[in-house]
């Protein structure tokens, strides 16, 4: 419980930093931190495999890509900050939390904090599920990735 609260605070703070830092690189670093903490949160949910994948995929690949692009483009100016628009957006987001809060707090899980079964979250079980009932989505995901690769190459390639 303590661990959760610490992690939650860290996650929320770093998430807030993502949107409140005016510098893109700072935002990106804050996001890496947030993702890292979320990965640890995953670990507390008996999902070690997913947690490690989170670090590997998000922190290790996606965010590096972000940083790479940021440095490649190297936008010079800090972005302007318009107070009214910021207020409006933040208010809307706050309203969203406010509206969702009661519903979320009243949600009753069917088996509240049931002890995880043996091997829950292990690579073996994840693999079996993935290649069992989810094999078709898995294959489709591979096609999606292929399409994304080709799309990215085509988009980012300089016209010759």
């Amino acid at each position: 419980m303590t661990l959760f609260i610490i992690l939650a605070v860290l996650t929320v703070v770093s998430s807030l930093l993502v949107i409140f830092q005016r510098n893109v690189v700072h935002s990106a670093v804050a996001l890496v931190a947030a993702l890292f903490f979320i990965a640890v949160l995953f670990l507390t949910l008996d999902a070690p495999m997913i947690g490690i994948l989170q670090v590997l995929v998000y922190a290790g690949a996606i965010m590096v890509l972000f940083l790479f692009v940021i440095m490649l483009l190297n936008p010079a100016a800090l972005e302007p900050r318009q107070i009214p628009w910021w207020t409006l957006g933040s208010a809307a987001a706050l309203l969203l939390v406010f509206l969702l809060m009661p519903a979320l707090l009243n949600t009753v899980a069917p088996r509240q904090a049931a002890p995880a079964g043996p091997g829950f979250g292990s690579p073996e079980l994840l693999g079996q599920t993935l290649f069992g009932s989810f094999v078709l989505p898995f294959e489709i995901a591979s096609v999606l990735l292929l399409v994304a690769i080709i799309g990215a190459v085509v988009l980012a390639k300089k016209e010759s």
């Binding site: 922190a59 290790g60 440095m71 690579p123």
Partner: protein
């Protein structure tokens, strides 16, 4: 309970101590090795009361003092916070990866079984990759925070290079994982204790030679050293991503680099060269394939194993240093081409061939 925590703390301390010291020693080996190759003497000036210790003094004592007392320079238009954070990010992943690398079998002391591994995680290898993937941040963030075009270029190069070679490295390990059927490093090492055909140790190198070549190449590339030192490349980018670093921060980058060498060596040892396994050494002593048996006490066996692991790691560290002083630097496009057009396809092919081999093997073993 307290004892458990104490044991874990002791293991962690031991590992960190060993790694950091090894990194330091590697600095000496590098200097002396390069001097040997280039037919010169190498570091020999610093001395304590006339004792130069073949440069060991230089490396282990004088260098740290020098680094720690130098001015910590931060570029005026740089980013103070990130400039400081970056070296930590560079050193941190290199050190934490050792948490899952087994340096010995089980040590039994007073009826308590101590696994000679800081943390036995069931997804150890993935953990290593996750941590290794984080090591990019030190470079990228440091490069950006320096507000220097050379360092920025180095950072961009480093990011691209490391992401690229991470893929080839992961795919090459996949073959090993398929052979041994586990993600636990301790299990992988234990699986390499068997014998192939009754006499050949079942090490990964014999089962996955292609994977070894790929993995080793990619691992060298990940350490950003010659021939893959494009992010620093002194003749092109002055010193690349750490051009604006000095003092303690530079020391951290420096140590991180050598720690990575050690990590790479340890991983190669663990995955392909039997880890702590000594050929024919069982828990109770040597069982030679041609009939000889030499029983040894438990402690001796454990020490032999730990020693074997250390020797193998140091050997591969030495190989890497040898490479660094032997080969010329690649061009950047050559690096990229090698990563994407050579290593990646070959690694994929290796995975496919391994899969077919395993399936055929299973078929064969199913036959009565």
């Amino acid at each position: 309970m307290m004892i458990d925590i104490g044991i874990i703390a002791a293991k962690a301390f031991l590992v960190l101590f060993m790694v950091l010291n090894l990194a330091g020693v590697l600095g000496w080996i590098e200097r002396k090795g390069s001097a040997l190759i280039q037919d010169r003497i190498g570091a020999n000036r610093a001395s304590i009361f006339g004792f130069a210790g073949m440069g060991l003094v230089n490396t282990l004592i004088a260098d740290p003092i020098k680094f720690l007392t130098k001015e910590d320079f931060i570029p005026p238009k740089g980013d103070r916070f990130l400039h400081t954070l970056a070296p930590c990010l560079a050193l941190f992943p290199a050190l934490v990866t050792f948490a899952v690398i087994p340096f010995g079998d089980v040590l039994v002391v007073a009826g308590r079984e101590i696994v000679l591994q800081v943390a036995n995680v069931n997804i150890g290898i993935l953990y290593i990759f996750a941590m290794a993937s984080l090591s990019v941040y030190g470079i990228v963030i440091g490069a950006w925070a320096s507000n220097n075009k050379f360092s920025l270029l180095g950072g961009v190069r480093g990011a691209a290079q490391m992401v690229s070679y991470e893929i080839a490295m992961g795919l090459s390990v996949l073959g090993v994982l398929m052979i041994f059927g586990t993600l636990e490093l301790q299990e992988i090492v234990r699986a390499q204790g068997g014998l192939l055909g009754g006499w050949l140790p079942a090490w990964g190198i014999f089962l996955q030679p292609v994977a070894f070549l790929l993995f080793f190449t990619a691992a060298v590339a990940e350490t950003k050293r010659i021939p893959f030192d494009l992010p620093e490349g002194e003749s092109e980018l002055v010193a690349g991503y750490h051009v604006e670093y000095s003092g303690a921060k530079f020391l951290m980058f420096f140590t991180g680099e050598f720690a990575e060498i050690v990590t790479a060596g340890a991983l190669v040892t663990t995955l392909f060269f039997g880890g702590w396994q000594v050929p024919y050494l069982m828990r109770d002593g040597f069982h030679l394939p041609w009939g000889g048996t030499l029983l040894l006490p438990h402690l001796v066996v454990v020490l032999l194993q730990v020693g074997a692991f250390a020797v193998k790691v140091i050997f591969f560290c030495w190989v890497q240093i040898l490479l660094r002083w032997t080969l010329p630097r690649f061009r950047y496009d050559q690096v990229m081409r090698l990563g994407w057009k050579m290593l990646l396809p070959v690694a994929l092919l290796n995975v496919v061939v391994t899969a077919v081999w395993i399936v055929l093997g299973e078929r064969a073993s199913l036959r009565p």
